[in-house]
Symmetry: C2
Subunit: 440 residues, 2 copies
């Protein structure tokens, strides 16, 4: 019997604030970070890797929360933990003292995501399959058993989930073959960070077009005149037929969002992303009604399945951008995908940061193969940085994610990266010039 012998959680931080990559109107100086969980077993060939994503300070708090959340796994058999992924999830979630700190939101939920992402990685590695294939090979009943459906039954029951999953069965192999040939379509955010100059913006938009992208996203929300100028540049470069998306990262109140998006409507954006507080279901519904045909997208800060349920009920979204490291792993994410299918809202997962692209490629494949059976209106985010730190990095060609083939969730980080970027004592952070600047 193989046993989980230890949980290691690493405070991993990359000094991305040194460049303007990742800059937007809300988050001006993020150091892309991960609370990185490794589940060790007494089989040296078998371990589970997962993380949640943060942007710097407070990553240590998530590390502490993940350590505590994962504690019940130590000493469990790998078989017991990975054969009953629904039971494992419910067991970790059942701590009512920790529940008080949420429930299902903030640091505790990020930590739950990190730990359960590692559990899913462990399960897929044990099966010798990439995660998307591991899920595709589950029966509809097995998928239903892992779902977190608490508080959803007014919109999604277990019976309804089962029926939808069974309906999606036919054509599964054909869809897998299609993705293996063509990949899953993606778009790039790398062109449009707020801190970039006009020349750099123009050059990066042109490169995106040259690389086969049909969608380009710009950060907006700091200055409306600048946004008009930058949208004009982007539209000129990508032409009238490609899609331009804009992203305000939550800087506006509802009336301000409606007014500002109105100013940018002439550039025909496909969507306005995060126009206001991620918690404001009714606000997003009001914005959507006012700015159509510009679509409304949000979800990277969508805290849990109950929020998404309401977003769908209220007709607040044209695009659902759930986050693979903020929702509490596939147990919760699959419930959101099923609700999205029911309400016919395409899911275009948030990615970027560090490692999120590696995770969401699996989610998008699972959506197409197991849940929705559709690519319509779907395009998954891709940001081209920090992939070199992963053992099995995602591969993007011609504006599409290639299907991953290695066993697991593609979440494992190189040992050398951990040595260099663990905080505060990794080689980078402990080097004399850098260490002197740290406060916390």
């Amino acid at each position: 019997m193989t046993t989980i012998t230890a949980v290691e959680v690493v405070d991993l931080r990359f000094p991305t604030s040194a460049t303007a990559a990742g800059s937007d109107a809300m988050n001006k100086d993020g150091d892309y970070s991960a609370a990185y969980v490794v589940l060790r077993t007494d089989d040296p060939q078998l371990s589970g890797h997962g993380f949640t994503f943060t942007i710097g300070r407070g990553n240590d708090i998530c590390v502490m929360a993940a350590e505590q959340r994962a504690l019940p796994l130590i000493g469990c058999s790998v078989q017991e933990v990975t054969d009953d992924l629904g039971g494992t999830y419910r067991r970790l979630k059942s701590d009512s003292q920790l529940r008080w700190l949420g429930p299902d939101k903030g640091v505790e939920h990020l930590a739950m995501a990190a730990v359960m992402n590692a559990v899913w990685d462990l399960a897929a590695r044990r099966a010798g399959k990439p995660l998307w294939r591991f899920v595709a090979d589950m029966t509809p009943r097995e998928v239903v058993d892992v779902l977190d459906l608490q508080y959803l039954s007014d919109v999604l029951t277990a019976e309804e989930a089962l029926r939808m999953l069974e309906e999606a069965r036919p054509g599964r192999d054909r869809r897998i073959a299609e993705l293996e040939a063509d990949g899953y379509p993606c778009y790039t955010t790398s062109a449009g960070w707020l801190g970039y100059s006009d020349d750099k913006l123009r050059r990066l938009c042109q490169e995106a077009v040259d690389q086969g992208y049909r969608h380009v996203k710009l950060k907006v929300g700091a200055d409306v005149e600048e946004d008009v100028r930058r949208c004009r540049i982007a539209r000129e470069v990508i032409g009238p037929d490609a899609h331009l998306m804009i992203d305000a990262n939550q800087v506006w109140d509802v009336p301000q969002a409606i007014e500002w998006v109105g100013r940018l409507a002439e550039f025909s954006p496909l969507w306005i992303e995060e126009p206001t507080s991620p918690d404001d279901v009714l606000g997003h519904a009001a914005i959507r009604a006012a700015v159509a045909p510009v679509g409304v997208a949000t979800g990277e800060h969508g805290m849990n399945r109950v929020l998404f349920k309401q977003m769908f009920q209220a007709g607040a979204l044209d695009f659902c951008q759930l986050d693979s490291a903020r929702l509490a792993s596939l147990n919760e994410i699959l419930s959101v995908y099923l609700m999205a299918r029911k309400f016919d809202v395409p899911v275009c997962p948030h990615a970027g940061g560090v490692g999120l692209c590696e995770l969401v490629q699996h989610l998008s494949i699972i959506d197409y193969v197991v849940v929705s059976g559709s690519l319509e209106g779907r395009v998954t985010e891709f940001v081209d940085h920090l992939h070199e730190h992963f053992v099995d990095p995602c591969v993007v060609e011609n504006g599409a994610y290639r299907v991953p083939r290695a066993p697991g969730y593609s979440a494992e980080v190189h040992a050398a990266t951990l040595e260099t970027y663990s905080f505060p004592f990794g080689a980078h952070w402990a080097s004399p010039g850098v260490a002197a600047q740290q406060v916390v």
Copy 2:
């Protein structure tokens, strides 16, 4: 110039799980706890005390978050911090890296509440006034300057807030005199914890009636037949005219809540409290429509002002039970009170736990004196335990909170309590029999 010289945050835990006090259908074994913040100054007579409330495990995570959040206060002049309470709040809130972990929810928001509660205590002590008086003596313009109105302008603008506060000015002194004579009405939860026997329930209900209470609250949600029996006992004892409230602590999905409350409607509860997920605005609206005339109450897990805004917009609440240590101090709480006034929803703050009664007595007075000018439909929770640990404990007589007179927010804990109940090395937790049982 007086300066803030240090921030001390204590992990304070009381072993309440040893008795059934505090037991409900969701929280069976809480150890009432506080992440307790002390702002020290170079004047030994002046310090600020505040906390957030938790129920045990994870309190250490809140301590760590509060330490980091409070860091910018060290070295600041007390005058600078307390003369501009809006600016201090915005400065602490402006850390965009920490914002990623919420925003405005979970551990980080609890920590912000703890720190800013201590800042408000410091401000009131410096002024030599109890907190409620300190706020009552602010001009409407000064009150508006401290409000967190971000994401609220579709419902509440600064101009509208100012107008409401000015309208509430007349009669202020009369209302203060009234409260000083009669106190602020409260109800007791001490009778109805789920773990109590029928005999104990009957006896405690009778004691509540004898002590002058007109409202009694029972925990429900574990077993509907037991709930019927316990509601019948309570109604028999308190008679047909007193108010019975029931509290499910979030155990139900929406359809289940509607069905279960239907079974208990014969006992004419004034409200059903926390029928489902605290995040589910539309769910509460659906429940409210279905169970009327039973009222719907929620808020102790209401994460932030954006959630409450939507609860009011959706007509989801009959009673708003905001929490003094979960919302980020008066800066956010006053915004919720103003929205509640606009939508004519009475605020009946959550209390109990440890120290929450000490805080909410100030809030309820501020509501009556400064914001709503009304006592109609308002009754504030009171739970009679753990008050002995406070230097200036709340006093309840004849079913009403007496008006506090000592300077500050009544949040200071006795030094002997800190020595005994700090975790894990206080005298109680480090004692041989207890220490051996600790896991984390």
